[in-house]
């Protein structure tokens, strides 16, 4: 338990200390709000800024959670994971500590954007909404952190991971409906978006943030909060279920893979460390 807490604290400290990283992680989303908000001004969405913001908040949570992969790879390369390896701590609690700290950081980042967003377009009418929003962010944070941790144990190389990140996560966020409504995508991309877990996270989160829980199913489909797959309608509840299933699968996969990873082999590829100690 104490290991888990210590690693959680470590992740938070690293997040707070990285001030430049924080500033840039905030700049990017607002640039998107500005650009896409302008594009969609005259379309069929009633409040484009709020629509965009809800998408951007969840995308931030998603990307920040996946970032666990690069921090974990960094920890492997710097040798810190080797220190963990020769200590008597359980690897499972290390994996859990990494997961929870990533999920927390992701939620925090999402909150910052959400709070800033409240000045430019997001309005809550119920006191319960912020609570649901927070819970959803934590949930999505945990799920995608486990995906990220799994990636880290599979990829294990900082440079490769950067490539994977740009090649996979960026397109996935673009076809998740966060920025561009899925209904506006070409058909081939629509099919891809149905296989994208982000699509369901975005749809569910948007419904919570925009307080559209009592809309009828047809209206939800129109607003992009329920997904119509050739007549089969994925309700928000089903979306939640899909994310939960993905979460369970990847929590199992990532912790299992983390416990088995041979960190001792990774340190050798680190040239900086060799230059310093050789």
């Amino acid at each position: 338990m104490s290991t888990l807490f210590a690693l959680w604290k470590r992740g938070l400290k690293a997040f707070i200390r990285n001030k430049t990283g924080l500033v840039f992680s905030l700049l990017f989303p607002f640039f998107f709000v500005y650009v896409f908000g302008a594009i969609f001004k005259n379309q069929f969405i009633e409040n484009p800024i709020a629509y965009m913001l809800s998408g951007i908040v969840i995308t931030t949570v998603f990307e920040s959670a996946l970032n666990i992969a690069s921090t974990t790879v960094d920890d492997m390369v710097s040798g810190f994971m080797k220190e963990v390896l020769v200590s008597p701590v359980k690897r499972l609690s290390v994996a859990m500590g990494q997961l929870l700290s990533a999920a927390t950081v992701a939620t925090l980042q999402g909150c910052i954007i959400l709070i800033l967003g409240m000045f430019i377009g997001i309005r809550f009418t119920s006191w319960l909404t912020p609570l649901w929003v927070l819970l959803t962010m934590v949930f999505v944070g945990v799920v995608f952190s486990s995906v990220g941790l799994y990636l880290a144990t599979v990829v294990r190389n900082g440079q490769t991971f950067q490539i994977v990140k740009t090649a996979v996560t960026m397109p996935l966020t673009f076809i998740s409906g966060a920025y561009i409504p899925i209904s506006m995508l070409p058909n081939s991309l629509k099919i891809v978006s149905y296989f994208n877990p982000m699509t369901y996270a975005t749809a569910f989160f948007r419904m919570i943030v925009l307080e559209k829980t009592d809309l009828s199913l047809t209206d939800l489909v129109k607003e992009g909060m329920a997904i119509d797959i050739n007549g089969f309608i994925v309700t928000p509840l089903m979306s939640l279920g899909i994310i939960a299933v993905i979460g369970v699968i990847f929590i199992f996969l990532s912790t299992n893979s983390f416990v088995r990873t041979d960190f001792s082999r990774l340190n050798r590829s680190s040239n900086d460390a060799n230059a310093l100690w050789g």
Binding site: A14, S78, G79, F80, E83, P88, S270, N274, L276, W277
Partner: protein, 306 residues
């Protein structure tokens, strides 16, 4: 005193390649043990297997009576490890690194503060306590790693080339501390080193070459066996000295301006010297160094690559 590390018939293969071939040795509790060998001889493989990181191919390795393959957690609690490569958390401060280590090793909360002060004092890093590790110099990082390896009071401290790249003062300081630790706390120190003068401080030494142990004894015994004392004599009367040396059956070589004489048999040498006391202008007796032992045994220069 009993053996704290017992290695019996340890073999490690990487596919077809045999890195360590059927080695056996013991390390006495409370001693300083040096593991020497040229690069690629199997040193790191052995140390990593003892530290529970690598799996053995066959054999038996025990630390404090616990098996390194089946009782990993018990072994891990009782050892401290300083690797060749840094394993510090570069994003955090000195203080945070040590505290994290205390959490990993279940150091009682009440003792954490006191132990951090103690180990930092020891390696002379008290003033750096709040600094980020990334901002420390290479030598400071290494000292911090040694401090961290000691903070949970391990029974055995493994050091893989602990002083490589450090300045002479720091090296001396670390050694003074290691010797003090061994005497006062009865910690066993298991280390690999490239510095032969450091090997001489150790109680026992094993030399590994090509995956097998080629020598395993006290430094004294190894030196006695593999090196010879030499006397360097300068004289005004060369021919007379040579004749005497021949008569007393002492081997010698004429170098530029002095004679290099075999000085193992001190009695004979003293007699030669006393007979020649009018002519001899200078005498120097040199003990064999550990470098000679190493070269004699492995036939390689240990620092060839550097």
């Amino acid at each position: 005193m009993g053996s704290i590390i017992q290695v019996e018939n340890f073999t490690k293969k990487y596919g077809e390649f045999i890195a360590v071939n059927d080695i056996s040795f013991d390390v006495e509790e409370g001693s300083i043990f040096a593991f020497l060998g040229p690069n690629g001889a199997g040193k790191s493989t052995t140390i990593n297997t003892l530290c529970t990181i690598f799996e053995k191919t066959s054999g038996k390795l025990l630390i404090d009576g616990k098996d390194v393959s089946t009782q990993k957690n018990e072994v891990r609690s009782s050892i401290g490890v300083v690797f060749q490569d840094s394993t510090l958390d570069l994003k955090m401060t000195v203080d945070e690194n040590l505290k994290m280590h205390c959490v990993f090793y279940n150091v009682p909360k009440k003792e954490v503060e006191e132990r951090i002060k103690f180990v930092l004092e020891l390696v002379d890093l008290s003033r750096e306590r709040k600094k980020s590790v990334g901002a420390l110099s290479g030598g400071m990082k290494r000292r911090l790693e040694i401090a961290r390896g000691l903070i949970h009071y391990p029974k055995v401290l493994f050091l893989d080339e602990p002083t490589t790249g450090l300045d002479p003062q720091t090296r001396k300081h670390i050694w003074e501390y290691l010797v003090k630790l061994q005497k006062e706390r009865n910690i066993t120190v298991f280390l690999t080193t490239h510095y032969m003068e450091e090997a001489e401080i150790c109680n026992k030494i094993a030399i590994i070459d090509g995956g097998v142990i080629v020598a395993h004894d006290t430094t004294y015994a190894l030196k006695k066996e593999y090196t010879k004392d030499k006397a360097y004599i300068t004289t005004n009367n060369g021919p007379e000295l040579e004749e005497l040396l021949k008569r007393y059956e002492l081997d010698y070589k004429l170098k530029d301006c002095f004679y290099k004489v075999d000085a193992e048999e001190k009695q004979k040498l003293l007699e030669v010297i006393s007979l020649q006391k009018e002519n001899i202008t200078d005498i120097e007796i040199k003990k064999g160094t550990f470098n000679d032992v190493f070269l004699e045994i492995t036939g390689k220069k240990i620092r060839e690559e550097e």
